[in-house]
C-alpha cells in the first residue's frame, strides 16, 4: 500500500468516525441537539481528530525511524570482508538500497525467479539503476534481506497505524454523549495544531543555524579563524593541488556592504518619495494604476535584472563615466550591480512604506492641517515620524534582500574578490563566493568547501545584528499613535 493510499484510507476512516460520533451524540439525547453540551459538529470533529491525528503521528514517526533502524541492522549483518577495497559501509548500504529498489521493480514484472547473478545485474542495469560496485553475493543477500524486512515492517506499520486509528475512532465514538465537552476538546486540539505550526517555523530556523554552526566549527578546525576574519586576501586554491588557500572574508564583506550601500542609496529615497506621493498626493485613479505598475518591478526575476546590468547598465556606465574619467575599463562594477539592485529594491521600499503611511490615522492629518500646517509640513513632522518604525522595517527588509542577492552581483559586478574604494572596479560578494565554492566537484572535507558555511554563518550573524539594531532604533525613536 503506497503512502497516498494510506493517507486516503485514513481520511476515509476519519470521515466515517465523524459521521458515527455525530450520530451517536445526537442519539444520546434523543435527537434534541439543544441538550448536547456542544454543537453536533464538534462531536463529529472530535471523532475525526481522534481517528486521524494519533494514527498520522504514528505513521510519520514510523516513516522516519524505520529506514534508520533497518539500515543499521542490515549493516551490522553485512560481512566485513565483502566491503570492496576503498569503499565504506555507507557506500555499500546505498548500493544495497538501490539494488533492493531495482529488485522490487523487477519483481513487479514477475521476472526474478532463478536468474543468475550476471543476468540479474543486466536486468538491474536495464532498469536504469547505476551501481557503485559490481553485484556480489553478499550484496545480493543483503539486498534481499533488506527487501524482506522492509516488506514485513511495512505490513506491521500498516496494521499498527490502522489499529491506532480505529482505537481512536472507537474511543471518540464511546465518549460522544450529551455531557461530553466536545467543543473544548476540539478547540484544545486546534490550539495544539497552531502551537505546532509556530514551533515548526522556530525549530527550522534553529536547525538551519545549528547545521551551519557545526560545519563552521569543522572549518575552523582546519583553518585558523584569525586568518579567516582578518586576512585581506581571498585566494582559494583548489584542493588536490595541495592547500595554501588564503580564505579571508574581508574583501567579500567589503564587496557585499559596498554594493548593498549603493543599492540602498538608490532605492530608499526613490522608494520613500514614491510612497509619499502615492499615499498623500496622488489621486485615487492614478494610484490604482501606478501602484500595481511599481509592484511589477518586484515580480521580475533577479536574473533578468542581472542581464539588464550585464548588457545595458554596465557598458553604459563604463562608456559614459568610468572610461572618460579614467576610473576603470570594466563593464562589471560595484556601481552597476548597486544601481540595478537599487532599482530592484524600489518596490519593496515603496510598497511597504505606502501601506504604512496609509495606516497612519486620518485624525493625525486633520489635527495637523487644522493647526494651519501645510500638507508637506504635515507629512514631514507628523506622518513620517508616526510611520517611522514601519519605514525602518521596510528599509531593513530591502537591506537584507540586498545583502543576500546573488544573481545581479554575478552578472553586474563580476566574481573577482577585491578590496577597493573605486566603485567602477569589479568586486564580488559573500553570496557569490558561497555559490562558487559549492558548485562543481566538491569535497565536503576540505576547507575550500567548508568555508562556504563559515561565510554563510557570518552573513547570518550580520543580518541578525542589523535586525537587532533596527529594533533598538525603532523602539527608541518610535512615535506611537495608538
Amino acid at each position: 500500500m503506497s503512502l497516498p493510499m494510506i493517507l486516503l484510507a485514513l481520511a476515509v476512516l476519519g470521515t466515517v468516525s465523524f459521521i458515527l460520533s455525530r450520530k451517536r451524540a445526537i442519539a444520546s439525547v434523543g435527537g434534541d441537539a439543544r441538550r448536547l453540551h456542544s454543537l453536533p459538529t464538534y462531536y463529529g470533529m472530535h471523532g475525526l481528530l481522534m481517528a486521524m491525528i494519533p494514527a498520522a503521528g504514528l505513521l510519520v514517526a514510523w516513516l522516519v525511524i524505520q529506514p534508520l533502524m533497518l539500515e543499521r541492522s542490515i549493516a551490522a549483518d553485512f560481512p566485513e570482508s565483502a566491503i570492496p577495497e576503498g569503499s565504506t559501509i555507507g557506500l555499500v548500504m546505498s548500493d544495497v538500497r538501490r539494488v533492493a529498489d531495482a529488485l522490487d521493480r523487477v519483481a513487479d514484472q514477475g521476472a526474478l525467479a532463478g536468474r543468475s547473478l550476471e543476468e540479474l545485474e543486466a536486468v538491474i542495469a536495464d532498469g536504469g539503476t547505476a551501481m557503485g560496485a559490481d553485484l556480489s553475493d553478499a550484496l545480493l543477500t543483503a539486498a534481499n534481506d533488506y527487501r524482506a524486512a522492509r516488506g514485513s515492517l511495512n505490513m506491521i506499520m500498516l496494521v499498527a497505524v490502522f489499529a491506532v486509528g480505529l482505537i481512536g475512532a472507537a474511543w471518540a465514538w464511546k465518549r460522544s454523549e450529551g455531557e461530553f465537552r466536545a467543543r473544548n476538546v476540539v478547540e484544545t486540539g486546534v490550539l495544539i495544531l497552531l502551537v505546532a505550526a509556530a514551533s515548526i517555523a522556530i525549530l527550522t530556523t534553529l536547525g538551519i543555524v545549528l547545521s551551519m554552526l557545526f560545519e563552521t566549527m569543522n572549518f575552523f578546525q582546519q583553518y585558523d579563524w584569525k586568518r579567516f576574519f582578518l586576512s585581506a586576501t581571498w585566494d582559494p586554491s583548489f584542493s588536490g593541488r595541495g592547500g595554501g588557500s588564503e580564505l579571508g572574508i574581508i574583501p567579500l564583506l567589503w564587496g557585499t556592504l559596498y554594493i548593498s550601500l549603493i543599492a540602498l542609496i538608490v532605492s530608499v529615497p526613490i522608494g520613500l518619495f514614491a510612497a509619499i506621493y502615492l499615499s498623500e498626493y496622488a489621486g485615487k485613479k492614478f494610484r490604482s494604476i501606478a501602484k500595481p505598475l511599481i509592484e511589477i518591478l518586484a515580480g521580475i526575476p533577479t536574473i533578468v535584472y542581472g542581464l539588464f546590468a550585464l548588457i545595458t547598465v554596465g557598458p553604459m556606465l563604463r562608456d559614459a563615466i568610468a572610461s572618460p574619467l579614467g576610473l576603470g575599463s570594466s563593464a562589471s562594477s560595484v556601481m552597476t550591480a548597486g544601481l540595478v539592485m537599487g532599482i530592484m529594491l524600489i518596490p519593496f521600499v515603496s510598497s511597504l512604506s505606502d501601506d504604512i503611511i496609509n495606516a497612519v490615522p486620518q485624525a493625525m492629518r486633520d489635527g495637523s492641517l487644522g493647526l494651519g500646517a501645510t500638507q508637506s509640513e504635515t507629512i514631514k513632522q507628523v506622518i513620517i515620524p508616526a510611520a517611522l518604525p514601519g519605514i525602518v522595517g521596510a528599509v531593513l527588509l530591502a537591506a537584507s534582500r540586498a545583502i543576500g542577492e546573488t544573481m545581479i552581483v554575478v552578472l553586474g559586478a563580476g566574481a573577482a574578490a577585491k578590496l577597493d574604494l573605486n566603485p567602477f572596479e569589479a568586486m564580488t560578494t559573500v553570496t557569490v563566493k558561497i555559490v562558487s565554492q559549492l558548485t562543481g566537484d566538491t569535497d565536503f572535507a576540505s576547507p575550500e568547501t567548508l568555508v562556504a558555511f563559515a561565510l554563510g554563518l557570518t552573513l547570518f550573524v550580520i543580518t541578525l545584528g542589523l535586525n537587532v539594531l533596527a529594533l533598538y532604533i525603532v523602539r527608541k525613536y518610535r512615535e506611537q499613535y495608538e
Binding site: G283, P361, A363, M364, R365, D366, G367, S368, L369, G370, L371, G372, A373, T374, E377, Q381, V382, P385, A386, R478, E479, Q480, Y481, E482
Partner: protein, 265 residues
C-alpha cells in the same frame, strides 16, 4: 463672577465675528448643507445641535476650510470672518486655519511629547523668537487648557500617554497655542467620561473670554450649559438660531421643539 459674565455677554453679542450667507455644501451629489445664513458673535460660545447627519459638523468644517481636504466636497456661498471672505482666492487656507483653530471629536494628540504637541503650531508659524519664548507659549497654552499642573513635570513624555480627558485638553492647548481668533470644537466631549467632560466644559467657558468658540454637540444639556447662542440644524437646514435660553425654553419652530423634547432625533 456671574455679574462679570453677564456684562461680557452683553459686550460679546454686539460684534459679529463670523458671517455666513447662503452657504451650500455638496459631497458629490449629496446636498449636505442647504442655504445656511448665520451670524456668530465674538467672545461667545455658539452651540450647533441637531440629529446625526444634519450637517452641523460639515458646516463647522466650512469655517476653517477643512472641507477643502476632502476632494468631493464643494462649498458655495459666502463665509466672512471679520468682514473678509475666507473663500476668496487670495486667502490661503493654511493661514486661515492658524487663525481658526479646531478641536476634533476624538482626542488626536500627535505621537510626540506633550511639549512638542503644544509647540507644533507656534513652530510651524514661527511665533516664537527663541526657546524661552516658545517655553512661555507652551506654558501659557497649557495653563489656559487647565493642563499645566498635571503636565508640567512630564512635558517630555508622549502626549499619547495621557488619559482621554487630558489628551483632549492637550488638543485644546495645541489649538490655543497658535493664538487663534476662533476656536471650532467638533463634539469635543463625546469620547470623554463625565468628569473629563465637566473639566472641558469649564475650560470652554473660560476660553470665551478670548475667543469666539463654536461647538458642535450631541448633548443638549451640554449646549445649554456652555453656550450663549444655539443653532439647531435639521436635514442640512438651519432651522432656528438664537439665545440658548430662548431655544431651549420657547423655541419658535415646531421641529426645534420636537427635537429638544426628544420626539425627533
Amino acid at each position: 463672577m456671574n455679574d462679570m459674565r453677564l456684562t461680557e455677554r452683553a459686550v460679546g453679542t454686539q460684534t459679529t465675528k463670523i458671517t455666513a450667507r447662503a452657504v451650500q455644501v455638496f459631497y458629490g451629489d449629496n446636498h449636505a448643507i442647504k442655504d445656511v445664513d448665520v451670524d456668530i458673535a465674538d467672545k461667545t460660545v455658539t452651540a450647533f445641535i441637531g440629529p446625526s447627519g444634519c450637517g452641523k459638523s460639515t458646516f463647522l468644517r466650512c469655517i476653517n476650510r477643512m472641507n477643502d481636504t476632502i476632494s468631493v466636497a464643494r462649498v458655495e456661498g459666502d463665509i466672512l470672518i471679520d468682514g473678509e471672505d475666507i473663500y476668496d482666492k487670495r486667502v490661503d487656507p493654511v493661514q486661515l486655519r492658524a487663525k481658526v483653530g479646531m478641536v476634533f471629536q476624538k482626542p488626536n494628540p500627535f505621537p510626540k511629547s506633550i511639549y512638542d504637541n503644544v509647540a507644533y503650531g507656534p513652530r510651524i508659524h514661527g511665533l516664537a523668537r527663541d526657546k524661552a519664548d516658545l517655553d512661555e507659549i507652551v506654558e501659557r497654552s497649557l495653563r489656559r487648557a487647565a493642563l499645566w499642573d498635571e503636565a508640567k513635570d512630564r512635558l517630555g513624555e508622549p502626549g499619547t500617554g495621557l488619559s482621554g480627558g487630558q489628551q483632549q485638553r492637550l488638543c485644546i492647548a495645541r489649538a490655543v497655542a497658535t493664538s487663534p481668533e476662533v476656536l471650532l470644537m467638533d463634539e469635543p466631549c463625546s469620547a470623554l467620561d463625565p468628569i473629563a467632560t465637566a473639566q472641558v466644559e469649564e475650560l470652554i467657558d473660560e476660553l470665551r473670554q478670548n475667543y469666539s468658540v463654536v461647538i458642535v454637540t450631541h448633548s443638549m444639556q451640554q449646549a445649554a450649559r456652555v453656550s450663549q447662542r444655539t443653532a439647531f440644524f435639521h436635514l442640512g437646514n438651519l432651522v432656528e438660531y438664537g439665545e440658548t435660553g430662548k431655544i431651549f425654553t420657547s423655541p419658535e419652530d415646531p421641529r426645534t421643539e420636537s427635537y429638544i423634547s426628544g420626539r425627533i432625533g
